[in-house]
Amino acid sequence: MTSPTVTSDSPVPANARKINIRVLRQDGPGQPSYWQRHQVAYEENMNVISVLQRIAAQASTVEGESVSPVAWDCGCLEEVCGSCTMVINGRVRQSCTALVDKLLEENSTEIELRPMSKFPVIRDLMVDRSRLFHGLERVKAWVPVDSYYDMGPGPKVSRKQQEENYPLSQCMSCGCCLEACPQYQKIEVHRRPGETDAQFDERKRAAHHEAFLGAAPISQAILFNSHPTGKNSADERLDALVDTGGIQACGNAQNCVAVCPKEIPLTTSIGRAGRAATVHSLKRLFDF
């Protein structure tokens, strides 16, 4: 008896339908990008991840040329880790939930895969999203507790408050909202010859520091400003929001909320951030 748990892949018949895939590849930072065409056999319930897995295993293009596997980033494959963001058929999304059947309904001739355009390409579909994480640091997206010793429970939270905060807290830093934002411009810092990792990282951080935060970190600032203990650093977060690259850079295009795979009410957060920032600026003005 064979175990049907984790069934092995059903054998693909030789005459199976093929899917065409066009991938925008790039061998490394600063290198030219180029299109490459692949073909894989259609299987039921495929997603873009399984397409890329098949491409890696066969390692040759539709023309039969041997090529290295396409590099891409993925993790949980169930849309909670935020790794596998890319631009698929022109729309930014998670490749794990991009189901082939649905993509073929959009365009029956081929599936087009491109890396996000607002982040520097590392290789092929992999991009460097460290700016996003730096943004979380800029807005101090954490609860400033005294210690990790046992001090009893946290402050009581109403169900209403939890229901407001939980959606914001589901942000998985995937970057879709930033890719879709007209005000969020790519910043690419090229490594200088002889530069150490630490020096390069320092220059990158400095470049990120002045640039637009984007929807995801702004929404996190609002999340922590509405937490009973998080509030204690509210002014520092608002300082970041009124600084260069803060809330005033938002052009209110509302693309962010439209592409968020978790349907986080980003524009509501931005609205709240805008109002709080205005009050904060006035306070700063008159306090001095």
Partner: protein, 661 residues
């Protein structure tokens, strides 16, 4: 001299908890991870985290009962002191996570809401929607980012841990790792190294685990001389959504919130599920386990679903094994509030709304109960001695293991919502132990000659170079598929010795072939091909330890099920005969425990694991038969209780002196 930094490998719940606590103690951390730590596999944990709480306490619950449920659910294969300590800490762990801002669901009055999970009758489980692991991880990620901004943590994300670095006495004095972007290999000198790299689901091809859960880090420690314990205990989760790339978890919380598992009584009934009347439905878990119902421990639920499909032929579909998991009797608003995250996953991948139509699910490989062997220091009250350097220490001095990748907390079967607890607990608890270890080191240890580190780097560089130039012709991706198929067939729900022998032979053959992979990418920039191949090669020592451990364990315990050695239900009808049969049953149970109530310990030499056995500390709670759903359970229990009351402490069952023959 100033204390050296500590290397933490892995940024899931355990690694991040350890990192932030080390920082609080003033110790700098180099945090190495295959992925940005916020994307670690802990995000996939859905259901919740257990602790005794104010409400359950008033219904008779206690830390002790949580401890008891955990060891009973684990079939008594855990050393009890660490479990006792963990369950005693559980309420404090949840309080801390609450303070850190985790968005736990709330009751109307604003308290943390709780749900029921498998293997207990109490509502112990705190939860944040159905993405509790994600929410807990984010809270820890935020704290670590805070320390990073203060300069105490340096993250090395997209770095692959290649192994511990040992001095001439075998002590771990650092780690060697590779930048997955630039492919640079470098050493990280450290006072201690903590491995927190989770499970190895990729050894089974597809599982509920994330793509980076390949077990390679643990294997690299095993190959460096660390012991690996209870490898054969792999949890197969009862409810997952089958997929071509991965088997997606459908959380136990679906059943915790009232989800019911059933199949049509008529095989492959073609009517839509909702049109099948109650009288034509078989709620087999509720029927077979009236007390726990749909919330029996996972190993049991998995075997029953497997049995109903394979042996009884009642799978919902003919070509694809599955059963119904039904939530349609619960209101939409309640489902959205408590289970939204997982229902969205089902809807997105299956294109069907599980609020309207019962889900189709089947078991999938989910969790490694086994892992790196770690030590502990027992306190006078049979818990752990806080701050003792032995806690969570592997047999390589200076090398620690925590979280899913240690073997310590779940025995033969893990209870749902206990993993998040064990990860956070072991992470927090290990930090002062490491501090004390590091402070006790003689000055000489922290002052290693540079050659120790250079050699480790050179060794890895030559492995890397050899792989790039190898022209053996094997395709690593295809070998991985084959490995996954073999492991899945032989070493999941039902295990048979002939199949395990056969599987070992095949895996051994693949193990030699995997040394001859030809890479399609021989470049030196973000070469995922070579990184994958290295991880694949390192899956084999663990795969072999699983198979060999399973082959040698001729019994049924928790997730390890060999029908040939199962303990049968009672058959006698007449009461005296039944009583006699129960006596024999208990004799056999005791004899089996004398032989097999042991942790298996794998060490790796040459090409194969060697297995030895270690006694289990069952000093607090005497092992007793696990009788969920067995016919005649009440008679066996009666006989057993009589024996126990007559026996001297430590005498009956699970006394631990005889090694398996």
């Amino acid at each position: 001299m100033a204390m050296q930094r500590v290397v933490v490998v892995g940024g899931g719940l355990a690694g991040l908890a350890a990192t932030m606590k080390l920082c609080e103690l003033g110790i700098g951390v180099d945090l190495i991870s295959l992925t940005p730590v916020k994307r670690s596999h802990s995000v996939c944990a859905q259901g919740g985290i257990n602790s005794c709480n104010d409400q359950t306490r008033q219904l008779g619950d206690s830390e002790w009962k949580h401890f008891d449920d955990t060891v009973y659910g684990g079939d008594f294969l855990q050393h009890q002191p660490p479990v006792k300590e963990m369950t005693a800490w559980a309420p404090k762990v949840i309080d801390l996570m609450d303070r850190l801002g985790v968005t736990f669901n709330r009751t109307q009055e604003g308290f943390i809401d709780r749900r029921r999970f498998g293997g207990t009758l109490f509502k112990r489980t705190a939860f944040a929607g159905a993405t509790t692991g994600q929410q807990l991880l984010y809270a820890l990620d935020e704290q670590v980012r805070r320390w990073e901004s203060e300069g105490l943590v340096k993250k090395f994300e997209f770095w692959d841990f290649l192994g511990p670095i040992q001095d001439s006495n075998g002590r771990c004095v650092g780690a060697v790792a590779q930048d997955m972007v630039s492919m640079q290999i470098r050493s990280f000198p450290a006072a201690a190294v903590v491995v927190a790299t989770g499970g190895g689901g990729l050894i089974y091809g597809r599982s509920t685990m994330s793509v980076f859960c390949n077990g390679a880090a643990a294997s690299r420690c095993l190959q460096a001389g660390a012991k690996y314990a209870n490898a054969e205990f792999i949890q197969v989760h009862p409810t997952a959504i089958p997929g071509a790339d991965k088997l997606r978890l459908m959380s136990e919380s679906a059943r915790g919130e009232g989800g019911r598992v059933w199949v049509p009584t008529k095989p492959q009934d073609s009517r839509p599920a909702r049109d099948i009347p109650e009288s034509d439905r078989y709620y087999f878990l509720e029927k077979r386990y009236p007390e726990y119902g749909n919330l029996v421990p996972r190993d049991i639920a998995t075997r029953e679903i497997f049995d109903i499909c394979v042996n009884e032929g009642l799978s919902v579909e003919k070509d694809r094994m599955c059963v119904y998991l039904d939530l349609t009797h619960i209101s939409r608003s309640e489902l959205d509030r408590k289970l939204g995250g997982i229902l969205e996953i089902y809807e997105k991948f299956q294109g069907v709304d599980p609020r309207e139509v019962p889900m189709k699910i089947f078991p999938a490989v989910h969790y490694s109960m086994g892992g790196l062997w770690v030590n502990y220091a027992k306190s006078s009250d049979a818990g752990l001695l806080p701050g003792a350097p032995e806690n969570q220490a592997t047999n390589i001095p200076g090398l620690y293991a925590i979280g899913e990748c240690d073997y310590q907390y779940h025995g033969a079967n893990r209870l749902g919502a206990n993993s998040l607890l064990s990860c956070i607990f072991s992470g927090l608890f290990v930090a002062p132990c490491i501090k004390n270890y590091a402070e006790s080191l003689p000055a000489g240890v922290q002052n290693q000659p540079a050659s120790v580190f250079q050699q480790a780097v050179m060794m890895q560089e030559s492995r890397h170079a050899a792989l790039l130039s190898n022209k053996g012709g094997e395709n690593p991706y295809l070998l991985h598929q084959q490995l996954g198929d073999i492991m899945t067939r032989a070493a999941t729900v039902v295990r048979r010795n002939d199949q395990l022998d056969d599987a070992y032979g095949k895996v051994d053959e693949l193990h030699s072939r995997v040394q001859a992979c030809s890479l399609t990418d021989s470049g030196s920039w973000t070469n995922q091909n070579v990184l994958f191949t290295k991880a694949l090669q390192d899956m084999f020592p663990i795969a072999k330890a699983i198979l060999k451990g399973a082959r040698l364990r001729d019994e049924c315990r928790g997730a390890h099920f060999k029908p040939e050695f199962s303990m049968p239900s009672l058959k006698e009808e007449e009461s005296a005969a039944r009583r006699q049969e129960a006596e024999k049953w208990c004799d056999r149970f005791e004899a089996n425990n004398r032989r097999f109530l042991k942790s298996s310990i794998a060490t790796f030499k040459g090409n194969d694991p060697e297995i030895s056995y270690e006694d289990v500390d069952t000093g607090s709670i005497r092992p007793r038969p696990r009788l969920y759903g067995l016919v005649g359970a009440e008679v066996i229990e009666q006989v057993w209780n009589e024996r126990v009351s007559h026996a001297e402490p430590g005498e009956a069952a699970g006394s631990h002196s005889v090694a398996p023959s």
